[in-house]
Symmetry: C2
Subunit: 145 residues, 2 copies
DNA sequence: TGCTAACCCGAGTGAAAAACTCGGAATTAA
DNA sequence: TTAATTCCGAGTTTTTCACTCGGGTTAGCA
């Protein structure tokens, strides 16, 4: 039950865009370098973010990516859903075909509660929140040291 | 970000024991058959549940497994932790070694919130709850049909 | 105009993890 | 004593993940 790199890289990328987006479109190369992520792979992931309508791109030289809307209008949930393919921990909640095996329906209730809880959490955190949380954390540290 | 079969089979198995445990120890064969799970594989998983102290076993003919304590004292979280190896969605929350890459710390806060939320949910559901929820569901259906 | 920096896209690959099997030893009720 | 059952470690197969590669398109800029 671990998050794949898709989710992690994705969040990191979006966070990067939230920070650096003011300075014009950011190239894959720049994002990958800052985040220590493999360039060619990141390209794939960003393509997913674009399909989901979370980022926009401008092609050609000096091109790159920017957030499709302001950072306080994009939630962590948006990003994870785009890259991880849904937040439910079991298949049988995605489609409507209930399974015949071990996932028979007493467990189903459990998975539903989990999914709903997780959804509420990640949809309650925007990129903007992340930026502010982090700033606050650093401010805290500056005081104590 | 899907649950592995370990978690699913595990929950199903424990639920089975909560239901059928009154009739003496349940053999792997019986549990596997009822749940449509591969017998040899289930053996492995139950061994994990035993190590975690969630079930007890009696060997020899007529042997099998029973819950180690009453169903209202075992949570879904206990089972998932035993079989999935922790509930955190990223490595860097398990050990103390913060990563150097894409999981740099702005994201960390997000994963912590998620883990804590998930933990609260699964620790709030006991096997007893599952049994009762399911009974209630069936009762509901009987009325409407 | 042409060069180069970038996005775009689909297919391919290697390693690792997940899911499951197998064989044999130890235990115990009947 | 036999058959049912747990116990245990090692092996195998399948699937997914993480990532690469090559070639195409677009557009700024000299």
């Amino acid at each position: 039950m671990k998050l794949s790199t898709r989710g992690r890289y994705g969040i990191h990328t979006m966070y990067d865009l939230a920070l650096n987006g003011e300075n014009g479109p950011q190239s894959i190369k720049a994002i990958a370098e800052r985040g220590g992520m493999p360039e060619a792979y990141l390209e794939q992931l960003i393509s997913g973010l674009k399909k989901a309508g979370l980022v926009t791109s401008t092609r050609g030289a000096q091109g790159g990516y920017m957030l499709a809307r302001s950072a306080d209008k994009i939630t962590v949930g948006d990003v994870l859903r785009a890259l991880e393919g849904g937040l439910s921990l079991v298949e049988c909640l995605d489609g409507e075909d209930c399974c015949d095996k071990a996932c028979a329906c007493p467990s189903r209730i459990v998975w539903q509660k989990l999914r709903d809880g997780m959804t509420a959490i990640v949809d309650g955190i925007t990129l903007q929140d992340m930026v502010e949380d982090y700033r606050r954390m650093n401010a805290q540290e500056d005081k104590t040291t």
